[in-house]
Amino acid sequence: MRSPTIALLWEIWRRHWSTVAVIGGLTVVGRLVDVLESRRNAGAESSPLTTLLAMVAFLLLVAVFNYTESGGVRGVGQFPRRLFTLPVTSLHLVAVPMLAGITSIELLYLLWMEPLSRDGSARAPFVAILLAAFVVFYLCALWTLERAGSLRLVMLGVIAIAVFAIGILPSFPPNPPPWWRLEIALAGLVAGLAVIAFLLAWRHVARLRDGGGRSAHRAGSLFNWIVEATPTRRTAFANPAAAHFWFEWRSSGMVLPALVGGVLLVVVIPMSWLMRSNAGDTFRLLLAALAAPVVLAVPVGIAFSKPTFWSEDLAVPAFVAALPLSSEDLVATKVRVAAMSAVLSWLVVLVLLTVWLSSWGNLDALSLLALQLWAFHGQSVAAVYGIAVLVAFAGMFLTWRFLVSRLWSGLSGRRPLFVASVVAIVVLVIAGLVFDADRLPGWLLDDPARLAPVVWIAAIAVIAKYWIAAYAWRVVTPRYLRVYLLIWLAGTASFLAFGIVVWGVVRIYLPVDVDRLRSLVILVALLAVPLARVGLAPASLTHNRHRS
């Protein structure tokens, strides 16, 4: 190796050469597919398949530039500490992966430029700048947030979504966009932020290397101070289950409420102030706020499903495995913590909503809806309040559901299974974005006949779900079964009630086959609460705990 730069670059290449090969393969295949498609329907937009392949290729490239090594405090990847003893400056160590990442992503974009920019939605230089900035943000977040454990992934997701949103912002109506939505302005903003991110990352790595000095401890100490403020448990525990509940709650229970509170305070509340004049926007923001716990429960649920929340390790830690606590109790504790977490998150939402709506909230759209509901349900105010309560309950159950549904795969200790179940979600989300999922209800409701196969599929899914559930719950003790069955009943009942209410409101607006739609709503409600997966979780954990 001639120089340190080449050595560092070679290291990145050597570690990920198989992934690079796959990216290359995908690019070749994608371009081929695209050429064939454009032969068939010349001049049309690039097909969804091509877009999907492009997305996967870019995702893989981002994975290649995951410039971390395991061994961190929380068992997650951190900046490779072993590089610190090499005779290279910190600037060098930080710049090499960043510049390599930027170069690679631009190269990949060049290769894919033709198919991707055919629809003319965004101009190439703008996209190029966004991609380069994303690499910088990504690496910066990866290195500076290592103490956040597996929640770093959430941050990365947020960054990705933010960059994507900025990318499509210029094309939003109304056209022509105001000065701040011009491509040039946004590009400038993003580039500026990227420079700041680079400097932050450089400073952080340099600090890591030389241990920081007094100020380093002061910065971390705010976080520490918050952590230290947690009250010490001073009373004895009534029984093992209560003790373990305290343990799990302290480890991971407050994460979802804190995240929800954070998102609402930092994003929703300021935006609500900005949008207070527009009723429609306020209503949409309200819906977003209500959806926040549910959406955030998905990534938190992924972390929650592992035996240790903060570590990426799927093995049961010896400390827990050696406790005289049955696997069922361990799973039951996690389910209870999830419930508490969900309830607390919704309390946060409701409190903040109350503050917002009663102070500066634009209640026009909301009042209109309430009026319609009041009129529809025989002019009873109680019905309106009842619906509001149902919404809250359904939301809580949905949040809880997302926290708990991955327990089966996370506790199993089998990495392929866990990764597959996570990838399934990611693919679903990507596919939803790519194939424009919000056109789906319109497409379905346009032609009522399209609803029939969907209803049939749902019906078969329900039958399969309950059959698998009966099988899964055979080996679980009756006490656990009884408790969970009650929870399941409550959840399903609330979903059913909510579904029926929603259907009741919706049907006056839509010219569809109401019976079919009602059946669909009922079936979906029956599918919503996880049954088999929670029943299988103890067996999964037992298998992980007593490894064979």
């Binding site: 448990r233 009373t235 004895a236 003790a243 343990f247 302290r250 400390f319 005289p324 007593h546 064979s548």
Partner: protein, 293 residues
């Protein structure tokens, strides 16, 4: 027949092609201090994890208190105190909280005893575990394992990397446990002087196979070191078929062997050498001799 607290029979465990445990059968008598020795990677931790149910037996059986630790997890673990090699105690917990938490699981927890030990080990109840040094963490783990006076105290390489003062605390805990009626201690170590001091039963694993398992006294009585002096240096190492290890160079040769099978004077005569010494082999020598092949 003394009661056995733990019994392992024909236990095998492979990791891929490598056999971590190969048809291991041993039993731990009640009230014993059972030492488990072997090189790194010999299978000691794996065997211990089988006793705790952290590994499921591939072949053979594992019984602790007569129960299978995999199917009767709670019943077995409720009577065991375990200190692992790297105690992975949660860093965010405070010392006092950990004790209160652990107390909830073991009905026989003796609060006064726990308090006494905590004071003795100088553990601040408000300190967070992640601020404790390695030695303090080991002490805390030992406290949590001991305070409920378990019927079986299992220590997996408890002294590894610890200073002599902490090692003393661990040895004290071992002795204290066994002088308490009916309690048993099983510990694995490669610090042979400690094993020599406190154990009364010894088992040695080498590359997954059990080399010997017997009361310590018997093992020491059985193994002898025979030193021979040859007038003319033999061309090749003397061939002593029943010896465990033959070592030396030139005129001086040492044979470590099982005393029941070799008569020293006869051997010397047979090989044409003078018998310089015939003494009991030290535990170190026994260990090295068995680990050599």
């Amino acid at each position: 027949m003394p009661e056995t607290v733990a019994a392992v029979s024909h236990l095998t465990r492979s990791f891929g092609a490598k056999k971590a445990l190969n048809e291991v059968s041993l039993s731990v008598p009640k009230g014993a201090v059972f030492g488990l020795v072997g090189e790194n990677g010999a299978g000691k931790s794996t065997l211990i994890k089988h006793l705790l149910g952290l590994w499921r037996a591939e072949t053979g059986s594992v019984r602790v208190f007569g129960l299978d630790p995999v199917s009767d997890t709670v019943a077995v673990l409720g009577r065991i105190g375990y200190l692992s090699e790297e105690p992975d105690l949660p860093g965010w917990m405070r010392v006092g909280e950990l004790l209160r938490y652990t107390q909830a699981f073991y009905p026989r927890w003796d609060t006064a005893y726990a308090e006494q030990l905590r004071d003795r080990f100088a553990l601040d109840p408000e300190a967070r575990i992640k601020t404790l040094s390695k030695g303090q963490r080991a002490r805390l783990g030992l406290l949590a394992a001991e305070a409920h006076r378990p019927d079986l105290l299992i220590l997996d390489e408890p002294s590894s990397g610890l200073d002599p003062i902490v090692r003393r605390d661990i040895l004290e805990a071992i002795i204290r446990s066994v002088t308490d009626e009916g309690r048993t201690v099983l510990f694995s170590s490669h610090l042979l002087d400690e094993v020599d001091r406190v154990s009364d039963h010894l088992a040695m694993l080498h590359r997954g196979t059990l080399r010997f398992c017997a009361p310590l006294e018997d093992i020491k009585a059985r193994h002898r070191r025979i030193s021979l002096h040859f007038e003319r240096p033999p061309a090749e190492p003397p061939n002593v078929s029943a010896a465990i290890r033959v070592d030396g160079a030139g005129r001086e040769w040492t044979v470590i062997c099982d005393a029941g099978r070799i008569h020293a004077a006869a051997l010397a005569q047979h090989l044409g050498a003078t018998l310089v010494e015939d003494t009991a082999a030290s535990l170190d020598e026994i260990f090295v001799a068995h680990a050599a092949h």
